[in-house]
């Protein structure tokens, strides 16, 4: 800014000197987000665009905090988000992480997520919706409100639907209580687009639209590995190959739900493993038998016979 502009700007005098030094790295370390971002990289497979966006948001909030620490004006940014993507692409898991991250950065006061759907917000008769929505908003205050399948809030086929009322209350609170509440909407991409087209007010109040891509086959295998490790099981090398086969076949079939399908497949593999062990109960079994998922546990899936 030039000298003349400085004189014209009445706030320039109250502004802190421009030559102050800030240790961003120290702020980064003490906020604890370093560990959270690393954990996210470790436990969430793929999802590059999502991770990039989260990193950007983290950087924004960190710089915001640095600005505030030396007395610059720091408007809290609007952090309402919309997560779109196919089923099982990790929208809910990321929303849960988001609360921890925003809490670590001091943007929200409490590390909690209140997950709701249309039923929790929209009432059944006149005058029922407003108190119901307000109740949920009160409960979510200070944290993250996660609205799953948000497009159900708006039912264009019924013009007397109470969903519109819930949307209006939501918009009001999203605008007025920006530093008390972060709203995350989630849903399938095409239907969310329809929802936003009919609710432009909602679309314009959401700063971050994050798209969750479908997983690739190798990412799904990685997810399967993480899940089995999480459940304290082990995939034999042959079983892992069978799993890779399974994933390719399952992806081609209808109603494939990404990571959720993998979880279901593993649950059924556990079932078959338990059955196999139970049937062979004449002989003693060791701890490794209880841990291991064999190739046949996966190969006997219906996916391979179809």
């Amino acid at each position: 800014m030039s000298e003349a502009a400085d004189l014209l700007d009445p706030e320039a005098r109250d502004r802190p000197p421009d030559n102050q030094l800030i240790d961003l790295d120290a702020l980064y370390r003490e906020s604890g987000i370093c560990g959270m971002l690393a954990g996210m990289d470790r436990e969430l497979v793929g999802l590059t665009p999502v991770k990039t966006r989260i990193r950007e948001i983290a950087a924004l909030l960190l710089v915001e905090r640095a600005r505030r620490s030396i007395g610059f004006k720091a408007e809290p940014p609007s952090l309402h988000m919309c997560f779109t993507g196919n089923p099982g692409t990790g929208k809910t898991s990321v929303a849960r992480r988001m609360a921890g991250l925003l809490h670590g950065l001091g943007y929200i006061r409490r590390d909690h997520v209140v997950g709701v759907t249309r039923d929790d917000l929209v009432g059944q008769y006149i005058g029922h919706t407003a108190p119901k929505t307000k109740e949920v908003l009160k409960r979510a205050m200070g944290g993250v409100l996660f609205i799953d399948e948000a497009y159900y809030l708006y039912r264009p086929e019924n013009e007397r639907d109470y969903g519109q009322e819930a949307i209006e209350i939501l918009l009001q609170v999203m605008e007025d209580n920006r530093d008390d509440l972060v709203v995350i909407l989630a849903g399938y991409r095409d239907r969310m687009e329809v929802f936003f087209r009919s609710n432009p007010g909602m679309a314009s109040r959401i700063a971050h639209h994050v798209d969750f891509p479908d997983y690739e086959a190798d990412e799904l295998l990685e997810i399967a590995r993480l899940m089995t490790a999480d459940m304290q099981y082990r995939l034999e090398p042959e079983a892992e190959r069978a799993m890779a086969d399974y994933i390719l076949r399952r992806m081609a079939q209808p109603r494939f739900a990404n990571a959720r399908s993998i979880r279901n497949a593993l649950d059924r593999a556990r079932l078959r493993q338990a059955n196999r062990l139970f049937e062979a109960r004449g002989s003693a079994i060791g701890a490794t038998d209880l841990l291991t998922i064999a190739e046949e546990d996966i190969r006997r899936s219906r996916v391979f016979t179809q």
């Binding site: 006061r109 409490r110 909690h112 307000k134 908003l137 009160k138 409960r139 205050m141 200070g142 944290g143 209580n177 008390d180």
Partner: protein, 146 residues
Amino acid sequence: MRLTQGQFSFLPDLTDGEITRQVQYALDQGWAVAVEFTDDPHPRNSYWTMWGNPMFDLRDAKGVMMEIDACRAAHPDQYVKVLAFDSSHGFETVRMSYLINRPAEEPGFELLRSEGPGRRIGYTVRSYATGRPSGERYGGETRHGT
């Protein structure tokens, strides 16, 4: 006459920031916070009108503050108090209670003496405000039925 009832009543009126911190303390203890109001300031009047249900499932004070603001906006010239109810076994009672709103003018109380048999004196107090019907007691003549 300034009404002194409940906690903090001999201190200056709590600011919104102070109320928030008190409410947050109660929520952190796991107590349910409720808002109540009345225009009958008699100390034995324990049945104040409830402003909504007690809030059992909140974690952050902001939710309570929204209700407090709504109640104060609806009843600016009545007494409003915040209660914190502890449901844990052995307590099951109100652990905190303090005024957060009072009318601009508080006329105070009258001491009535009634002489009984044998020159025995019975004493009673009565608020000057309760001489008028409920809803008109604190300059709120236009506000019937609130």
